[in-house]
């Protein structure tokens, strides 16, 4: 915790051995005081040392508040319980599982920067690292030599960096670290080449366990702090669920319960997280999102069914958490006398259909409404709008449009103009390796660049030039939309669309 640096200040803990320092500020540290020191020894160094007795409840409340803050970055936050119990430096640690979430903050580097800024604003000093395993992240936060925003440890790639971490980054007890130090094993790179059997024999099982957890060879079960949330259902199983059918049945029951609770409050979920924890600590998380607030368990289960085959029950599932982090109020809907959801409503059923399609699509597949945007450039005059929610009109009333092609080539395809006539329009072109004789041409229609727009697109080079559009008809009867751009004497011709006639 940060405090005014000019006053040396410590927090002390009382146990059967006496009064020990369990946290201290930078000024005290600078004067030579360290965690675990007796208060009487510290007073001999700094007679006017400010001493505050430890208040575990206050510490817990601060940490709980910090976990709620971290919920902004990830819903899965676990506190480092061992750290508080074993070290006496006043450190606290949090693990955030951010798998698939860092892109929302602009990538992993900006993600770290944002967390650090957030912590600093709240008056805390922090070190942050991102890694593939919890152990590597713990070590990276403390020992990574890079700058604050570059503390990202990707283990197969950054093996050399990890090898230089001190052995203290393995979260071992002080006795084992001292023993390792006496043996000359000071870095991870000194331990990893040693025979595994010898490590266990000489140093005990903890070193190998932590080493394997560091490199991801063994799982590490983190106790994530579950938010105090009404739309979270946690179910543990005395007998682990061993097959997919039992797992599906359990999830079905929990979802039905959640939907029933939501219906009673006239709420619908927009995002659902289902987390299955295996007995060996492995977890599998399924996240699903709906386009509109949803109360129908049938619909949600159908969405989950797409992802359920990916869940490995392993040695058995011992815990399932069903959590709806995003819920919205549902407009009044007429319910049937048997309390079942009335799915015949067109808008609701259409939204559910869109959800099903969206969940099935690949990363490059897109579902959208086309809308009209006030732009002269044909490729910018149509914009994509989300399939649900409020959208812009299909055609702007006050923006007249000249004749436009039925098919638009995006991006425009280059053509070679072989012959021109006296007016500058093409009479013979080569497109897609075929010679095309132009029977007639209609134009030009001049479209000037939109200099007032910030041009930052792939077709920037084309967009910034004036275009002269021609409608041409070839000998096959096709009507193509051709345009000329480029500087004087260096015309670039492209096909941009096809007309229906």
């Amino acid at each position: 915790m940060m405090s005014p640096p000019e006053i040396p200040r410590v927090i002390t803990r009382v146990d059967n051995r006496g009064v020990f320092i369990c946290a201290l500020n930078a000024a005290a540290q600078k004067a030579g005081v360290h965690g675990g020191m007796r208060l009487s020894d510290a007073r001999s160094i700094l007679p006017d040392l400010d001493n505050i007795p430890e208040q575990p409840d206050l510490y817990d409340s601060h940490l709980a508040r910090m976990i709620r803050v971290m919920d902004r970055y990830s819903p899965w936050v676990a506190r480092d319980r061992d750290l508080h119990n074993t070290t006496l430096n006043g450190d606290a640690g949090l693990w955030l599982e951010i798998t698939g979430g860092s892109h929302l903050f602009g990538g992993e580097g900006p993600f770290i920067t944002q967390i650090l800024q957030d912590m600093k604003r709240r008056g805390y000093a922090a070190r942050v690292a991102i890694a593939d395993t919890a152990g590597a992240a713990w070590g990276g936060a403390r020992c990574h030599p890079g700058k604050e925003a570059d503390r990202i440890l990707s283990l197969p790639t950054d093996h050399a960096i990890a090898a230089e971490f001190p052995v203290s980054s393995l979260r071992l007890s002080g006795d084992i670290i001292a023993l390792l130090s006496r043996l000359g094993l000071k870095q991870l790179g000194d331990i990893t080449p040693l025979p595994r059997a010898n490590i266990t024999t000489r140093l005990g099982p903890d070193v190998l366990l932590r080493l394997d957890q560091f490199y991801g060879r063994l799982p590490e079960h983190l106790n994530f702090e579950l938010p105090d949330h009404p739309w979270l259902i946690k179910q543990g199983f005395g007998e682990p669920l061993g097959d997919a059918a039992n797992l599906a049945h359990a999830i079905e029951t929990l979802i039905a319960r959640l939907c029933s609770d939501l219906r009673n409050e006239s709420l619908g979920l927009r995002r659902l997280i289902v987390r299955c924890t295996q007995v060996d600590g492995h977890t599998h998380t399924i996240t699903t999102t709906t386009g509109t607030p949803c109360q129908s368990e049938t619909h949600i289960l159908r969405l989950l069914a797409e992802k359920m085959p990916g869940v490995d029950t392993g040695f058995g599932i011992e815990q399932i958490i069903v959590y709806a982090p995003w819920v919205e109020h549902v407009a009044f809907r007429q319910v049937r006398l048997d309390r079942q959801q009335d799915d015949t409503s067109d808008a609701l059923a259409l939204a559910q259909l869109i959800d099903r399609i969206n969940h099935h699509l690949g990363p490059n597949d897109i579902l959208y409404h086309s809308a009209h945007h006030a732009s002269h450039l044909p490729e910018r005059a149509v914009i994509r709008q989300p399939p649900t929610g409020s959208i812009k009109p299909e055609r702007l009333q006050d923006v007249p449009l000249p004749k436009r092609p039925v098919r638009l080539l995006e991006p425009p395809e280059p053509v070679d103009v072989v012959e021109y006539n006296s007016t500058g329009s093409p009479t013979r072109i080569r497109w897609r390796k075929m010679l095309i004789d132009v029977l007639w041409a209609d134009g030009p229609e001049r479209i000037c660049p939109e200099w007032w727009e910030y041009l930052d697109r792939d077709n920037y080079a084309i967009s910034q030039m004036t275009r002269d559009y021609f409608r041409i008809c070839d000998q096959k009867g096709r009507v193509l939309w051709l345009f000329r751009s480029g500087h004087a004497g260096q015309d670039i011709w492209s096909v941009h669309g096809l007309f229906a006639g």
């Binding site: 597949d365 994509r384 092609p405 007639w440 008809c473 229906a500």
Partner: protein
């Protein structure tokens, strides 16, 4: 002989009843207006049997080297089933599924569409990479019953896929129009279970006979369909068709020519 005629009539009636059974997807008034708008004076009743344009089921539009006219025809056919079963003026959506690089002639540009006399639904565009995804989406949408029409633009697909689409359309009361290239299969078109199969190609032009809006529209097959072919002219403003006989010059008085 009269018994034979009676049997034929009964069979035709049964066929019509099967196609229309319990799921009329739009009001007859709306449908007839759209058909009149799209096909104008083309005498379709001579070629399409009882039941006319079945609003439910699979239809195919086959294009040659020009996708523009085929896209418009598919869009206009999709309008026929866009009303509500009870005839209310609310219009259901039209899905346009496009597989990238399937036909390689760009994407549908909705700003080219003219305002039609019938209020048209707003299209939902779905662009996918793979044919499997396109077929899955088409089947899912067709059998959902929440969409009036689906336009599926994909690479050539087989009879099994066509049959599945047809069954999905019957299950959901949906009209599906498949846009496909005219790829010959052993000298013939790939077999299909479509109710109607259309082909539209632009008429070839010469220096003496400059076309551009003249097309050959063919009804090349389907269930209970007598094949027919028409030389039609596309109206540049309304994108509707009319029979050309004799062939008219495409150029209006106020158009300039550069050749």
């Amino acid at each position: 002989m009269p018994a034979q005629r009676l049997n034929d009539a009964r069979a035709a009636l049964a066929q019509a009843e099967k196609q229309w059974k319990g799921s009329v997807a739009c009001s007859v008034d709306t449908e007839s207006r759209v058909i009149a708008h799209v096909f104008g004076d083309i005498p379709l009743s001579r070629n399409i049997s009882i039941g006319g344009f079945a609003p439910i089921g699979l239809h195919e539009v086959i294009c040659g080297h020009d996708m523009g006219a085929a896209s418009v025809l598919a869009w206009q056919l999709a309008q026929i089933g866009s009303g509500k079963p009870d005839g209310k003026p609310v219009h259901r959506s039209v899905f346009w599924i496009r597989q990238r690089r399937a036909i390689d002639q760009g994407g549908f540009y909705h700003l080219a569409l003219p305002e039609t006399p019938v209020t048209r639904p707003r299209p939902l565009m779905l662009t996918v990479d793979h044919q499997v995804t396109a077929l899955w989406a088409g089947e899912e949408i067709a059998k959902s019953g929440q969409i009036a029409s689906v336009i599926l633009e994909t690479t050539d697909y087989d009879l099994t896929a066509a049959r599945r689409m047809q069954l999905a359309c019957e299950a959901g009361g949906t009209r599906m129009i498949v846009l496909r290239r005219a790829l010959p299969h052993a000298g013939r078109l790939m077999p299909s279970s479509a109710l109607t199969r259309w082909k539209i190609e632009p008429a070839l032009g010469t220096q003496q006979n400059m076309t551009g809006n003249i097309h050959y529209l063919s009804l090349i097959g389907g269930r209970g369909v007598r094949p027919g072919s028409w030389k039609v002219k596309a109206d540049a403003t309304t994108l509707s068709l009319s029979v050309v006989d004799p062939l008219e010059d495409r150029l209006s008085q106020n158009q300039s020519i550069y050749t």
